[in-house]
């Protein structure tokens, strides 16, 4: 504002300039983001022509198919269950890890832990799932190790399958959980722990009544984040799962890419989006109370 300054005439000129400048990002976002999202919804009521192509129409058939066929309901329920389980396992593994990382580890160990977490966070899901398909295959990795140790009769392969999918999902999203927790665990003031202990509380009691409540927002947002990411992931279940482990994104992609049924793919995308919206809304209501910052200075993650 201070920079704008000057009389009303130059202010008006500046105003025009602002809209001129905003035309570039605004135009790009409207044309290449808002319009495609609208097209997604529009396509979901188009009619598919078997064998490729579609015709402009207004039909609810795609939605009827999505809800009538038990297959898609099953897949949706499976996706919700797998994502919820992934989020819980990530929390169970991530919390002690991050607690140690943020509050107990020496600076060097903390640096190593953070570097490992952050650099795997960005690594493509394709390579990370592939790593587990190697580790869980019968020719290399764990199955072979067990055979070599004489624990199994012959090398057993665990991928693809449910266990492999679950491990791959946890592996893919654990770094997001760790980074969500890290900020809030790091920000708990040590003097609070000290005060609690000076007042005679045992360490476990201190953890339970001081650290845990203060880190709760990070844990909640991390769990929600992992859940939402898992709901939308295509790569992990399609590399590490069999058709029984395919989640909604796999079904959607198969419709669009291999069945050439873009209208139906769009319709189940809209359904998935609506489910995610509901989850976000419910979580927002549920966490509403926790969002009140219990401790000033805490970093929002």
């Amino acid at each position: 504002m201070a920079v704008a300054g000057g009389g009303s005439r130059s202010a008006k000129q500046a105003n025009r300039l602002v809209y001129l400048l905003l035309a570039y990002p605004g135009g790009m976002l409207v044309v290449f983001f808002l319009v495609p999202l609208i097209m997604l919804v529009v396509f979901s009521v188009y009619r598919n022509i078997p064998g490729g192509g579609w015709e402009t129409a207004f039909t609810w058939d795609n939605y009827v198919r999505a809800f009538e066929r038990g297959l898609y309901r099953d897949r949706l329920v499976f996706t919700l269950q797998l994502s919820a389980l992934t989020a819980l396992i990530c929390l169970a593994m991530g919390y002690p890890f991050t607690y140690y990382l943020a509050r107990r580890a020496s600076p060097l160990v903390r640096r190593i832990g953070l570097a490992a977490t952050i650099s795997t966070l960005w690594l493509t899901y394709v390579v990370r799932s592939y790593a587990w398909s190697v580790l869980l295959s019968s020719t290399s990795g764990i199955g072979r190790l067990l055979f070599w140790l004489g624990l199994t009769e012959r090398p057993v392969g665990y991928a693809p399958g449910y266990v492999a999918t679950l491990i791959g999902m946890v592996y893919a999203f654990l770094p997001f959980m760790i980074l969500s927790l890290y900020g809030s665990l790091r920000a708990v003031d040590p003097s609070m722990e000290e005060a609690s202990m000076n007042l005679g509380a045992r360490p476990w009691r201190t953890f339970w009544h001081v650290v845990l409540p203060l880190s709760w927002p990070g844990a909640a947002s991390g769990t929600l984040l992992v859940f939402l990411l898992a709901m939308g992931n295509y790569v992990v279940p399609s590399i590490l799962g069999q058709p029984a482990q395919w989640t909604m994104p796999v079904i959607i992609t198969n419709q669009v890419m291999y069945e050439s049924n873009v209208p139906f793919g769009a319709a189940i995308s809209v359904v998935l989006m609506a489910v995610l919206g509901l989850v976000l809304f419910a979580a927002g209501k549920l966490l509403g109370a926790a969002r009140m910052n219990p401790y000033p200075g805490r970093r929002d993650s």
């Binding site: 400048l21 790009m28 808002l34 997604l40 991530g94 607690y99 690594l123 493509t124 722990e193 360490p203």
Partner: protein, 294 residues
Amino acid sequence: MANAGPRPAPSRPGNGEDMGAGIGPVLERPSRRRWPDPSLALVGTTFWVVLAFIVVPLGVLAAVSVHPGRFMTFPPQGFSLRWYQTLLTSSQWLEAIRNSLVVALGSAVLATSIALVLALVLDRYPVRFGEYMRRLGMMPLFLPPVIMGVAFVAFFYEIGFSGRIENLIIAHGIFNAPFPLLLISSGLSKVNRELEESAMNLGARPATVLRTVTLPLIRADVFAGVLFAFLLSLNEYIVAFLVSGFTVVTLPIEIFSSLRYSFSPVIAAASVLFIAGTGFLVWLADRLAGGLWD
């Protein structure tokens, strides 16, 4: 004069360059003494086990990639770089690497240019339309990539322009814009307004102030934005796969489709190159942005 702009916060804990400074000693003194050893040992063991869980799979990939045989085995029998040679001489893999780099670079420039203009304008003139645009620009962060991919497919089909590399650049440019937008906005909020005002008071025109004062101050954030968008695009699979419609093959797509047909160590070699490249870029971005995670 009017100093309404946010000042740099006076030494927030845990925000500095030294990760351990400030809290470390205070934290460790009471805990070492009072925390019962068994439970701390349990937490410490869990830490190392989880760390191994994160690191070991990637180490195994590296080990597999130097195995000389046609099929992957672990532990590798021997050492050979032949799969790296195959990777870097096969026209198929080179094409995928080239496409990946073109898409990543193009989309990073696109994403950062959108973010930079939007953030700069909104920083000075918070008009309502711009705020809506900012929210729109942040939305890809909350949308599953597969849904964005299908939206782009529908859009590019409808305008009759599908299966081109430009589509990937646009899709990734929009999809990754939130990251430079966040980085540049936060960089701008830390700029000391008095510097810009002094330049104005000394008679510099707004464009000159922008070029000689503001942009140099946020240069690191802009570069970090470009790097992150580049990194994300390089690693992105599903949007690229959907938008490309089998015509443009990027490196993750090539790795994925090779997985369906073979189990050759070449894939492991490609993955190791990927891990090394990603690790380097993360390190670089972290250096540029001055410790993003602590």
